[in-house]
Symmetry: C2
Subunit: 502 residues, 2 copies
């Protein structure tokens, strides 16, 4: 095999500024990796290589030396330079990475969340992720804001800014909250890289291994994971929670935190009634319980206004509030915020600086402009109108096609129908069948704080698709339900068990 | 005092969708907080309030009930409703936040970093933060990218994306790295919310309390802090490091990690010579040492090209590489990246999802466009030309005005002059005087891995200001140096000491 034909017609790029020996080494490395130059083959001598590229012999020697250091070629003294045998890096790692990593508490759930966030397979209708419809993202408005307002901003605003956030953003968010009855000024606001970061930061500064945290069950999986990763033990409040059970927990276990989504809860869609909110605050004050109120959906109401946020009901300073622009504007902004007393904001900021110095200020500026130019109200009116239509379409389709097999309540806001199988089988089994019919959703066990494989509940997101697609999805679901019924699945699937490996 | 005059002429906003009682309560709460309605004053009766606003008595009762729950008013049975006494929340906290927080290892350094990142006082020329000049941020180009390309992108790209990053971003970064001789494909790239996040994530998955980490000294303070916050012990390699000391550390302490900035080091400006890079890689391979190579400045070369990155020299998979667009485009993008084997990327992503789900995809898209439209080379040419002029201007001014009092080397790239006082006194003392002359910089002790107050070194950033301002800054520095000399400061300032409080 004449190697030179593979090298002679390759030309070096004259605009390339790297040293010549690196360019030649890179070119040869490329051909070795593509196996144009296969393992074991003898390469041109240093002199031949120099001639082929019209470079000095030193350059040729340096090129081979670099390839040798990369393990791509080897030199047999007195014989020449040869392409090295193929290395199977993955199967024989030089560095035992997996043994070097710190212990990771909970792989399975974590990867479930990742799958939800990842892009679904094509031709499957995904009702899984809690995703606003991309067609409604205000990208044109963002372009307009750049065109009309970027000249008026000081470029220094896009340099490094204080950890707590872009000051005009903190002021605008405070003003927006004031309109909703939440007392806050800029110093009460911490800008976040999405409200997920608020869960992480609060866990980091409040939770030590073994601490108790109370959450609703079912609830947002991302929160459970963060608390568990901090070593916390979870106490569950069933969805139709009663405050007696909570008070019992408070007295017996002295939990560090209550995590709650009072409005259009994820996944159940439930709204905590106004009087229960007031009772909850009173109980929290009595026990000095820290409440972490997560409120991503309250602006997405389709019938009546929901009750005011817990944070609006009282100046109890043990209440931490989390908000986000991911559901109402677009997730890609990665812009949320936390509301709390300055002593808390300060401590969270000390932690946040290690994580990302501060949140994206380009996105904070866009949101600030959106708010200060008064564009939010109009945008909310548009998305509410559209999502209400979708909610109604899905309710109608479920009622017409699936009411025999599942129970569900029509949510007054948010993104989700929370459904329960009436018939035999679990939602896990339903999902396995559903995927064959090219529809996916989230089985209920993912939202449970205690592992189970008996769950009959599941979550459908109606926000991400238009009415025609939603109808098609529910038709596929109905087909799946009928297939399942015919299979006569046992209601008694095997219980959870732990088998030692012997 | 007739209260009604404060309430009668206030009108409720008919477009406000909140319940009337909330609107009224909010209006009164506002006047209480502004002390238009001072503490102790009697409010209108429920009937009067109803008349004033033209609402039902139930609405008036509910408004007062809400204010009562917020602690803003109180009801004296048989007498009426009164504004509560002023509450001093900060001085008498309901929740003892400071006692609830998890221990925080190292306040002083952390707040130093925050001060560097925060905006400096006006009329002081800050040579402190390692900040590119805001006048050079490509904001116009960003606007153009929105105008010409936003239509061509799928809006779903601005929804939730995989934790590892926006795929076109990962591909573009890999292609950019290939041109620099670094072998990488998209699966080797993790998008980061700034390269600071890479330091945090790597610490999180590799370091347990008590582990050893080797760093250069002086080095980037943000890295030291993150390693120390993870409970690591720092082993220092002096700036003109020798590999014998490193090998000694490797054998004696088996460190988990070497952190190094090989090119235009922060703060020293030093470039690790090519042959030392090769020797370092060989040593690392022999000991399976993980190297974390931080490379924010290598594109900012003003004389000759720097040697290739460590990551370009070898396929040793124990080498983790960190890059960022903060110094070459703009910090507000908060967009950096980590390069490593897929097994590492996967584990880091599991950790990152808890922190922020994924990095800002709007910014990742902007950077991708910047790269794929070939705009980076031109932008780099502009900033290199400008920063080179500034470097030269500062070198000239320092030589002319300060050469008697300080030593310094002219850096070949990056942002910093690293200077050393020849005369009596420490850089801390110099800074205290300098601030009076309206110039600031970073004293060397901030970059030391071991606390000291004897340091005579300090860092000047030349990137953030134009030549005229730099000249003015060095004139102020020269004035400060001459003032210090006249003060006959003792070279022997008191050594570090720890005094027990008794």
């Amino acid at each position: 095999m004449d190697i030179s034909k593979h090298l002679i017609n390759s030309e070096l790029d004259t605009s390339d500024k790297r040293p010549l020996y690196m360019q030649i080494a890179f070119l040869i490395a490329d051909k070795i990796q593509k196996q144009t130059l296969p393992p074991g083959i003898k390469l041109p001598s240093e002199r031949e290589l120099a001639d082929l590229f019209g470079v000095s012999r030193t350059t040729a020697i340096n090129a081979y030396r670099q390839l040798e250091q990369q393990g791509l070629v080897w030199t047999k003294v007195g014989s020449g330079t040869y392409v090295s045998p193929v290395r199977h890096v993955e199967s024989q790692p030089e560095v035992p990475w997996l043994q070097l990593f710190t212990p990771y508490p909970q792989d399975p759930l974590a990867s479930t969340l990742r799958d939800l966030v990842a892009t679904p397979a094509s031709n499957t209708i995904s009702l899984a992720a809690g995703l606003p419809d991309p067609a409604l993202y205000p990208l044109e408005t963002f372009t307009e804001l750049f065109n009309y307002h970027i000249d008026r901003v000081s470029p220094a605003d896009f340099g490094y800014i204080p950890v707590e956030g872009y000051h005009p953003f903190r002021k605008s968010v405070a003003a927006m909250l004031n309109e909703k009855g939440i007392a806050a000024s800029a110093e009460n606001i911490l800008a976040l890289s999405g409200s997920q970061q608020g869960l992480y930061l609060v866990s980091k500064i409040l939770l030590a291994p073994g601490d108790y945290v109370v959450t609703e069950t079912p609830t947002f999986i991302g929160a459970i994971q963060v608390f568990q990763a901090a070593g916390a033990r979870i106490l569950s409040l069933p969805c139709r929670q009663n405050l007696e059970l909570l008070e019992d927990y408070l007295i017996r276990y002295r939990p560090k935190l209550l995590y709650i989504i009072p409005t259009y809860q994820n996944p159940s869609g439930r709204v905590l009634p106004a009087h229960e909110r007031q009772d909850l605050i009173k109980l929290a004050k009595r026990h000095r319980l820290i409440i972490l109120e997560d409120d991503p959906y309250s602006e997405l109401s389709y019938d009546t206004q929901p009750p005011p946020a817990l944070k609006a009901l009282d100046h109890y300073e043990g209440l931490i509030y989390l908000g986000t622009f991911s559901k109402i504007l677009c997730p890609g902004l990665r812009t949320g915020y936390l509301v709390g007393p300055p002593v808390l904001i300060n401590r969270l900021a000390l932690e946040k600086q290690f994580i990302d110095l501060h949140s994206n200020n380009l996105a904070q500026w866009l949101v600030t402009m959106f708010l200060s130019e008064g564009m939010l109200a109009q945008h909310l009116a548009t998305v509410r109108r559209e999502y209400k239509r979708r909610r109604d379409a899905m309710a109608k389709a479920l009622q017409r096609l699936c009411a025999g097999e599942i129970e569900f309540a029509v949510p007054e806001g948010g993104f989700f129908f929370w459904c329960k199988l009436k018939q035999a089988g679990t939602s896990q089994q339903l999902l396995q069948e559903a995927v064959n019919n090219r529809i996916s959703f989230v089985p209920g066990e993912v939202f449970q704080t205690v592992p189970t494989n008996q769950d009959k509940e599941f979550r459908l997101c109606f926000a991400a698709h238009n009415e025609a697609i939603l109808l098609e999805a529910i038709q596929r679901l109905a087909k799946t339900l009928s297939q399942i019924r015919k299979k006569h699945l046992s209601t008694a699937s095997p219980p959870c068990s732990v088998r030692p490996i012997i």
